[in-house]
Amino acid sequence: MKEIQTSPVLLKPLTNYSKAYYAFVGILFGIVGLGAYAYSVQLQDGLAVTAMRNNVLWGLYITNFVFFIGISHVGALMSAILRLSGAEWRKPITRMAEAITACSLAVGATMPIVDLGRPDRILNILFYGRIQSPILWDFISIGTYLTGSLVFLLLPMVPDTALLRDRLGGVSAIRRRLYKVFSFGWTGTAYQHEKLEKAIGVMTVLIIPIAISVHTVVSWIFAMTLRVGWNSSVFGPYFVAGALLSGVASVILAMAFFRHFYRLDSYITTKHFSNLANLMLAMIVVYVYFTLNEYLTPAYKWETSEGQLLSVLFTGDFSILFLSVQILGLIVPAILLSLPRTRNILGYSVASALVVVGMWIKRFLVIIPTLARAQVGEFWATYHPTWVEWSITAASIAGFILLYAVFSRVFPIVSIWETEGITEEPSDFTGPSVTSGGFGFSAERSDALTRQDDGGVDYVGQ
């Protein structure tokens, strides 16, 4: 039995649960509980407890759905694209990104079910599903992506899970069993490495088109109708660009959070932030480009019905939201990311937070104004979400954070084997614990790191 020559920083969150953490989780559970109660009220009294009515027939639930599915694209972007392009610096942050994907997909997939009028008949989609319907495409696409992203999360974690299985002390039997199951019998042989490489390689290539297709078919829920504002051919790439943007922003926020609270300064450096900030800036530019396309073309023509919609967005009831999204949600973050004075972690975090909130409001603005415009007769419906909808929205966000936080406490949020080159040793090896393989297990760590034990903490396995 050998001692783990790895930084305790990465493993400390897995065993040291502070009071603050318990309080945090407790609050999140409380919010989720409130949401569950609100949903029970909705189940009993029907969707009449929401503010949705015949005109604004989709509201906060679908907004949350699109928002969470949007955020989920970050796993494909970060992990897959950066892996493919061989960017070595991505290694400490890939797992954060992949975990965001998995958690947000899990939460996002529940939102349409909450929105259903008859959730007891959800299985009708399986029994009577019509492949001509965009909702079926959603179902297939999101199901495929969920499966893929879970695999994509668990696979690169296998060596770390094996490490935890063997060496992590002070954990419950259930957790140990969990590690055992998800380590897939990993012992670090060359054969296993080869298999792992192959699997990760396939998933890397596969996950990108799947992710793109997911948000494209989600956008087609709107674009396949004849409604003013939705009857646009650019919705597919528009939504994908927005998804990538909100995803990158959420990763930056996660990075900032973990760097601060888990003391991961040596792993998540300013270089990482800088790179991601540049990426986010590029995505903002792309998104602004698409926004221009989406609004300038109808504004130029000012066709009657489109003009009515544009009026409420530019100067009417929704103008405040619309302008704040464009300015505070896109322009200001772009500025923050460009100016040298604000190009620091705080600046990046503020910019990311603005972008994330802005993208949520943007989804709201895609859905509600179009629905509020009555297609027959000249009137505009109003929509003021009720406590049920707000509670469930809050619960979805809390649930996402909860899943993510618990994940980061059960599995190391920074990939150990990829960043330090430490893996489980095969039993017949006595030499240094290095294996060759396709992913370049370079012992990449910053100079500030020392490899001594952290004052008496012993991780000898039991």
Binding site: Q132, G148, V158, F184, T189, A199
Partner: protein, 483 residues
Amino acid sequence: MLGNRKSAVLLSAIALLVIAALALPVTVSSQSAAKSVSAAVDPKSFTVTVSRYGFNGTNAPLLLELRRGDVVHITFVYGDSDLPYDNPHVIFLEGYDLRTSIVSKTNPTATLDFIATQTGTFAFYCVIPCDGMLNLSSGRVVVAGQDDTGRLPTEIDVMVDEASSEGQATSFMATLTQGGQPVAGAQVDFYANTTLGPMKIGTGLTDQNGVARVGYTFLRSGEWDIVVEFVGSEKFGPSAKRLTVNVGPGAREPILVSIIPSLSGESISTLPYVRGQNRMPDLRLVGVPLAQGVPFITMILLIVGSVWAAYGYVFAQIRAIKQGSTTEITEEKGGGERKMQSTPAKKGFDKRILFGVILLVVVLAGVFAFYQFGTTAQRKTETVKIDIKMLMQNGGERHVFDPATITVHKGDHIVLIVTNTDDDSIHGVIIPELNLNTGPLTGDQSARIEFDANATGTYTILCPVPGCAPDHAQMIGQLVVVA
């Protein structure tokens, strides 16, 4: 060897048969109501059944021809007793402004009694909302003959001038005569009787030969009833005639609906459907032309299928990791050697997955193709007669359904004709699970029930008249619907 008498009987029978066959209408038939030559004192009686199918069981226009001065007695009889609920009617005669009392299940007859003082054509129809109201909208009373102004009685005849098929123009010719002489310059109205009521399709003026022509394009094939009417003028009295025309089916393109509608321009209005079946075929994926639909669906199946097949490959790698930990421990001797050992397993594995994916796609494509292009059984209308009989058995009376078990096929349209052959009791047929009930039938009375056998199963046939006979509870039959 036949005797003379026998052969004479045989010959006359054959002759009768031949004559009857020749007399059967072929394509075009004309019909007129019987004329009565009785004196004005004897009432002219008509009996007309009123049901949801129309007057006398059909929605064809019913012409009752009278002469001025006739004493008329029309009896309307309720014909909807096969319905489990009441379907009352009230018949109204225009011109004379006469209205019957309610004709219903509880009040099965009502009469119109009047003297035909006015000449002309007067419509009669059902005026209260009822099932089949549209079928009961084209009754006509035609009163002809001399009136106070001394108008001469006329006769009108109508024929198809140029027959044709649906979608093409058909031409009608009406000839108006008075005492054998043509009437010129008269306005003749042509009506087509539709299931939505009598519809005027044209008006023509008779020429010097008394002939008026009108053209009309029928948009559906089948039997059409045409009525021509001359409302009369200063000099001439009114007359009307009915003609049944058979419009042939038009040339039809095979109906193909594109999966992407705009590519074919088809819509649901061109798809044939079956009345009585609940749901039309799901548009856009039925009868898909090979060039459009199959590649599209196959492409979707291939893409989604290949993604999941790739997942399968990944799962296989995970499995290999699990197995590899106990068996495959390789020394790191040299990259080349290791590769040689792992390559054969890899190759064999890939082939199996590829084979599996191809087979899956072929199976799914086959299923899809079968449902798109496979032929389906022809559904038909089946008529079954059920007789309610009284048999003498074991020294007592036994009342039975004959046949006791009826087997029909799912999807067929079934017509049950129930006859109560027992003169002494009142019976009927009720099939509770299908909500069918003939109601009580007296001796020798028949009822007709129509329904669609939509679901397989065995349904019980019972008698709905409690206490009809001592063995009422033993009157049980079975209706079996098989696939």
